[in-house]
């Protein structure tokens, strides 16, 4: 389904949703979600059904084991001593754990098989398998496994209605590329019948327009240059490569966050609020800050289901204690977090793809975060010496933002290059052979973009930057815009809509789908 069809589909569904009797509203959402997913490829349906049913049944089984255990304890309250109660609880936990790991293994196993089997076989010199990679499989697998872990940990009660659970997994706006929702945040919103509220429509439509602008005006327009340079890096010097990396920063951010704005806006048409997934990451003052602002839902998922469980394990606690006497209290405290960051980013890297460049990209981020955690006391002392007058100044803030931007962009070399060797070669050229003349000898205009494209990109990036600065200062753009007097509001909106319609990359050009849909 193209972006335009998705938008039309969303408005049609919203109209039907508000015309539908309250008790069937969630059913309509479920039908719409499955219709949407089927339209993206009906052969992917069995996979999402497998995940949905296995997770629903597994969570229900975990819940029932708990209930039965509690009921048994209650029924035999007088008969059992403390040891007996403990044994009964342990037995229930063992059974829950068995179910939990079976479902976890099944779903992550399917994901791993579909995502990594072919690349691994190819790397081993064997013929690749022609396996289907269902759209959005990572996102719905992460979402359903998050739910399973929450049920296992007793954080949420299992959903008894498989259809309602299926809606939680498949809600169409966020199915393809997230955000990865939590059951306790989304499920009740999906189930609750929302009444028509024009404010939701206006706010949702505005956010959709903004997402469309980011995706179709900026990301898709920048794409040809990025593809051209990364596709044939040996033909370009470091200066052009830097331009391509900067364009990739812009393209990737606008593609992903634009897509998220679009789906968040679509959800708002139905009165449903999705969790934010981006918070102007290029204004981050450190790499840790960046990853708290970029793909927030995945970061939170990794934090809650990988980082903390890992950092709080007994071996990590023991390691921390052992390190205290040799390396000092500060390092000992930071050590589990440092190792946890390396693990998390290694996993995120592998999640991006089964190739060495992604592994290196993950390690790069993990190691920098680990070093930051371990060296944090040093930074603090250095900042103290500089004094608050400097560290609280705007110049120092800008310096930290620029430093973080550079660190992130070095990582993008590995994220975007086809192979690790290409990334190293491009980094080498950036540092050693810039060939700056290529910036002015017409090379840039032979990369799939015309002078007009560059002008549109510059104007659009300027708009994006201005809006981001205002948001960073706490201005709520949508609210501010909608509360303007009629004439300036209409003029502003018309001007922006006209700009978007006049400059979006349409059919016939590089009509790219969402980058993250393939994950």
């Amino acid at each position: 389904m193209s972006l335009f069809t998705l938008i039309a589909f969303a408005f049609l569904c919203a109209a039907l949703y508000y015309l539908c009797p309250d008790r069937f509203k969630w059913v309509l959402l479920l039908l719409a979600s499955y219709a949407y997913y089927a339209s993206c490829g009906a052969n992917a349906l069995p996979f999402i059904l497998l995940t949905t049913l296995s997770t629903w049944a597994g969570a229900l089984a975990i819940g029932r084991i708990s209930e039965k255990s509690r009921a048994l304890l209650k029924a035999r309250r007088g008969e059992l001593d403390a040891a007996g109660k403990k044994a009964l609880k342990a037995q229930a936990k063992r059974r829950q754990r068995a179910v939990f790991f079976a479902v976890l293994l099944l779903n992550f196993g399917v994901l791993a098989l579909l995502k990594y089997a072919s690349p691994l076989l190819t790397a081993m010199g064997r013929p690749a398998l022609s396996l289907l990679l269902p759209l959005g499989i990572s996102f719905y697998t992460f979402q359903s496994m998050g739910y399973l872990i929450d049920v296992y940990n007793g954080k949420v009660a299992p959903e008894r209605n498989p259809a309602k659970f299926a809606l939680f997994i498949s809600f169409f706006p966020q199915l393809i590329q997230g955000p990865i929702a939590r059951f306790d945040q989304l499920a009740h919103q999906l189930e609750t019948p929302h009444r028509f509220d024009i404010a939701n429509i206006e706010r949702g439509a505005l956010l959709m327009l903004w997402g469309f602008f980011k995706k179709k005006v900026i990301a898709d327009r920048a794409l040809p240059l990025v593809s051209a340079v990364f596709g044939q890096q040996e033909a370009y010097g470091g200066a052009v490569i830097v331009v391509a990396v900067l364009f990739y920063s812009l393209q990737q951010y606008c593609d992903f966050s634009g897509g998220i704005d679009l789906v968040t806006g679509i959800a708002e048409l139905f009165g449903i609020r999705l969790a934010p997934n981006f918070k102007r990451p290029y204004f981050s003052v450190s790499l840790g800050d960046f990853w708290r602002r970029w793909h927030i839902s995945l970061g939170a998922w990794m934090r809650d289901y990988v980082f903390y469980p890992f950092a709080l394990t007994r071996p990590m606690t023991k390691l921390s204690k052992a390190a205290k006497s040799r390396l000092g209290a500060d390092v000992a405290r930071a050590l589990p977090a440092a190792l946890g960051n390396i693990l998390v980013f290694l996993l995120v890297g592998v999640w991006h793809g089964a190739s060495m460049n992604y592994v290196l990209w993950g390690l790069y981020n993990g190691l920098i975060l680990a070093a930051s955690a371990l060296l944090d006391p040093l930074y603090r002392r250095a900042n103290d010496r500089l004094g608050e007058r400097i560290t609280a100044s705007r110049g120092f803030y800008v310096l930290r933002v620029v430093r973080t931007f550079v660190i992130v962009n070095i990582g993008w070399y590995f994220d975007r290059a086809a192979r690790a060797a290409d990334a190293f070669a491009m980094l080498g050229k950036t540092l050693l052979s810039p060939a700056a003349a290529q910036l002015s000898d017409g090379t840039l205009l032979a990369l799939g973009l015309t002078a007009g494209d560059f002008a549109i990109l510059a104007a659009a990036t300027l708009i994006l930057f201005a809006v981001s600065v205002l948001q960073e200062r706490g201005v709520r753009i949508r609210e501010r815009l909608l509360s303007l007097p009629v004439i300036p509001r209409v003029v502003l909106l018309y001007a922006f809509m006209y700009f978007v319609l006049a400059s979006f990359v349409g059919a016939g050009a590089a009509n790219a789908g969402f980058m993250y849909a393939i994950f």
């Binding site: 909106l493 018309y494 006209y498 319609l501 006049a502 059919a507």
Partner: protein, 461 residues
Amino acid sequence: MKRHPNLRGLIRLGLFALGFVLLLLFANTHLIQTDTIARLTLREMQAREDIELAFVGSSIVRDHFNAQRITEKTGRSAFCATVPTASMPASIALTRELQRTNSPEWVVLVTEPYNFQTVREAPEAQYKLMPFLSDPANMLDYYLRASSEDGCYLDRLLMFRGFGAQSLSDVAKTVGLRYFPEKTYARLRETMDPTVSYQGSGFLRHETDERADELLRTVQREYTGYIYELLDGSKDQLRLYRQLCEENGSRLMVVIFPNLTAHALAEPGFLDYNDALMAFCEELGVPCFNFSFARPELMPNLDEYFFDLYHMVGEGADILSDAFCRVFSAYAAGEDVSGLFYANRWEYLDSLTFTTNVWLTVFDPDSEWNPALEQDEARVRALSETQDVYMADCNHYVVYTPEYRFVLKNADGSETLLQDYGVDTLYACAPGALSGQTLRVYARLADYPENGEVWYELTIE
């Protein structure tokens, strides 16, 4: 109202959307470029009520049917209803516009393989025509018809994107041509190409000394990407077109434009298309005349009048117009005109006792496709092991044998003979012997040397 904030909101949203639609309409009509001649043609057509013989089609009609000359010779008031690159959807829209104020006795649909494929109507035709159509229903029908062929609904809806004004002078031109077309044309005329002039009645006359000699060499035997079969969609639209004419009391005639001979010789399927169209017209009961097949007594070969691959200068247009008048008048009078045309492609091809163009290729043993493969491949490969090999080829009917002469063109313009006329298509020499020099090849038909020769030259790197 205050009790219904949602209703108020919906009305507000509706008004906002309506305002934006009006803004887009404004952009689509005022913030775009305008084809001056297409606008003048449409304006004149909308103002006239006396058109009796209407020619409909693309620039091949606009540039080649001298309406005033045809009016004089046929006694029927003629007009060329055209828009450049028009295909059937544009022809239908144009004819509907024509029928608003006119009921021509005859409608002549002029076509060629390049513009009769419904899938091939360029968006530019729509951009040039649609803003100036006066009937919204016709506009909508045209938009849907054109979009359904290529699926570009959005691009065709937002025409200010692909056809937007590039400067303020573009906007001024569009506004001027919309509201004061004659005055604006008079002003623009001074800055326009002096070799082109709008003669009225939809006819545009070209007077240039340029000819398509150089361009003609690009018409070689290779796959062009065009599909020459008569598509089902084309047939449906032709049926609809016939119905459109009948409903307005007009008689329909189809004319196949005489393209450059080289197209017929070089492009596979080109003649198949003409045959298919003629057969389909016969099936529909619509008279169809293929002016490519015109016998010399009706019209000479017009190749020499083409200034580009598809358009002729005014003199060629006059000859074609005269030939058309002769056929039309005779046909309208009930006479048999079949004797003025070759009966079929074989008769036509037999008449082509000349070559249209020749070209040279350097043999590259590593190239996947090579014109040499159409020749003696084994010999070419063997020669190329020790020598540089240059291969000549030309457009000619296969029953006739071409012969070639290779010469070296000297700096002072004189020629040094390398290989005199003979059927050998190859010229081989020591590696690098011709570096930096210009090799010229002449071609003619062995049995018809008196019918002239054509040449091509290649500067060797």
